[in-house]
Symmetry: C2
Subunit: 332 residues, 2 copies
């Protein structure tokens, strides 16, 4: 691949002049610039990132940690993020972390060893030692968290207000006459969406409805788990008249069960999901759910990280986005 010296020779100038054109700083005569640009075009010149990085200590690489790529949320989110990073000259390392075990910290070390410019992290973990490590790293390499569980950790964080969203959804169910509202939450060790559950609890309390422990189930985020949770709920001596799930995927499992058992939705049982997956429009019946402002969150995440990288490395940015209720046919 052509280097800056080749360009200089062909354009009949010195490499410093080429460098000035490439990095767009310093004065270059318009004519010279045009000529150099043309040669670069012809040779399809790209600056060597190693050499550049050695001088500037910047890699224009970002590390992104996902705990689980199978969740459609991440891919949706990443499609947007990748577009923006490319536009701004960055490329992303994608690391899939294992929620069990130490792989998160190891992946972070791998990334750091490659002198990445910043890190975006979706995580299951939140123990103090881990947070402390992140905070330390953040002093040199900006970290952006995308889980509400990091809200008060002294780290930058862009996420959706799952508590408020769930609160509003619960309220909607209550307004429609539901009084026995069950909730399928995530397993305790994966506390990513715990704040959603908080919204449910808070709304019941505010509405003076009693919280029935038998109506709260922990499941593992899969459709199958949603199915089983619904089974457990509906076979209970006092079955609920509405089921909320912390994710659409689990809500779809609930629908699978209810449909199979010929329950009438929403009259026998109402169902509320969370995420507004594309697939949620096509369930039978179409799923009422809580929509995150996907695009805004994705755009804000990457733009914020790049801002932190390029401007104020040690700033802490925290922003929460409101969710929106999508009332479809699983609610009255």
């Amino acid at each position: 691949m052509a280097n800056i010296k080749d360009i200089a020779k062909l354009a009949g100038v010195s490499k410093s002049t080429v460098s000035r054109v490439v990095s767009n700083n310093g004065f270059v005569k318009e004519e010279t610039r045009a000529k150099i640009m043309k040669v670069m075009e012809n040779l399809n010149y790209r600056p060597n990132m190693f050499a550049k990085g050695m001088r500037t200590n910047r890699s224009f690489s970002i590390g992104i940690l996902f705990p689980d790529l199978k969740n459609p949320f991440f891919t949706e989110w990443y499609s947007i993020v990748d577009t923006i990073s490319r536009e701004r000259g960055y490329l992303n390392y994608i690391c899939v972390t294992d929620p069990k075990g130490e792989s998160e910290e190891m992946r972070i070390d791998d990334l750091l060893a490659r002198s990445i410019d910043g890190i975006i992290i979706f995580s299951y973990r939140k123990d103090d030692a881990f947070i402390e490590k992140l905070r330390k790293i953040n002093k040199l390499t900006p970290i952006l968290c995308c889980d509400s569980m990091f809200l008060d950790s002294g780290l930058s964080c862009i996420c959706a207000d799952g508590e408020k969203g769930t609160y509003n959804a619960t309220q909607k169910l209550i307004e429609s006459g539901n009084r026995n509202i069950a909730y399928i939450k995530g397993k305790d060790e994966f506390s990513v969406v715990d704040n959603r559950f908080e919204g449910y609890l808070k709304c019941l309390a505010d509405s003076s409805l009693k919280i029935n422990d038998a109506h709260i189930i922990s499941a593992n985020f899969t459709r199958g788990c949603g199915y089983k949770a619904a089974e457990e709920l509906m076979e209970h001596s006092n079955p609920p008249d509405a089921i909320m799930a912390a994710t659409d995927l689990m809500a779809m499992g609930v629908l699978d069960y209810l449909n199979k058992k010929n329950y009438h939705i929403p009259d026998d049982v109402a169902v509320f999901g969370y995420d507004n997956l594309v697939a949620a429009k096509n369930t039978s019946p179409p799923l009422s759910t809580i929509a995150l402002p996907f695009n805004e969150i994705a755009e804000k995440s990457i733009n914020t990280l790049i801002k932190l990288i390029e401007e104020d490395k040690t700033d802490i940015v925290v922003e929460m986005f409101d969710c929106e209720l999508k009332m479809r046919n699983t609610t009255k």
Copy 2:
């Protein structure tokens, strides 16, 4: 951060000796080695990847190009690939390419500028100029293609035998008495799965069934497109008694339509998908489909690329995996 010179000074040796210890090649007296190791430990020394890369032209990074992350196939595939690359000391850049436009070539240039060690590519494109460019790059930087469309392009390729898989599925439908088998293929400009279509054509020909042009629809890989295609097929004066789709996602759209119009599946119309998505088990009724050997393909892809990188850079490896029919309830 400490560099090799600091270590050398503190250990009272030259940086060449430190380098020999770090990269573990060349002879160093055990005593000297121990002393150097200790100093490195104390200063928490990490080699600078920029300088190292500049010298060796190796980044231990791999670039992966996906045309569309929303297809669950990719995420499934990548989860496996990422695990293996980490084990072998690599990290992956993930680029989402835009099927329309030149973004593929630009992303490849971006990757090359970062001196990635190898490229894995899933692509929509296959024009001669593009292939030629890839072939040229492949002389220096190993490229592995994961689409059957690259089979005869002189590039390394690991993929599933979509032609044979579709041939077998078509045969199965014919054996069950279906005679009017429609096929929903991809748009012509996105020829990724054309070989699947070939299998359909070949089987019809081998079975002396007439190919009805009105029963062949090009659609755009979404669920909605599958729906519309089914609508077009079923409203035709001579509707089919079976519909095959090039992907499960489109087949699911077909089911959406047929269910809505209260067709009886599979008696009125049989349906066959392709991909064996996790979701295909949960459609109503559960979708008969063609399963790719996911894990094997994923493992083989990354291991092959790393082999090409580390051993025989210019070798060409081609391997095709057989598919397996999953007969569920959308077929007789």
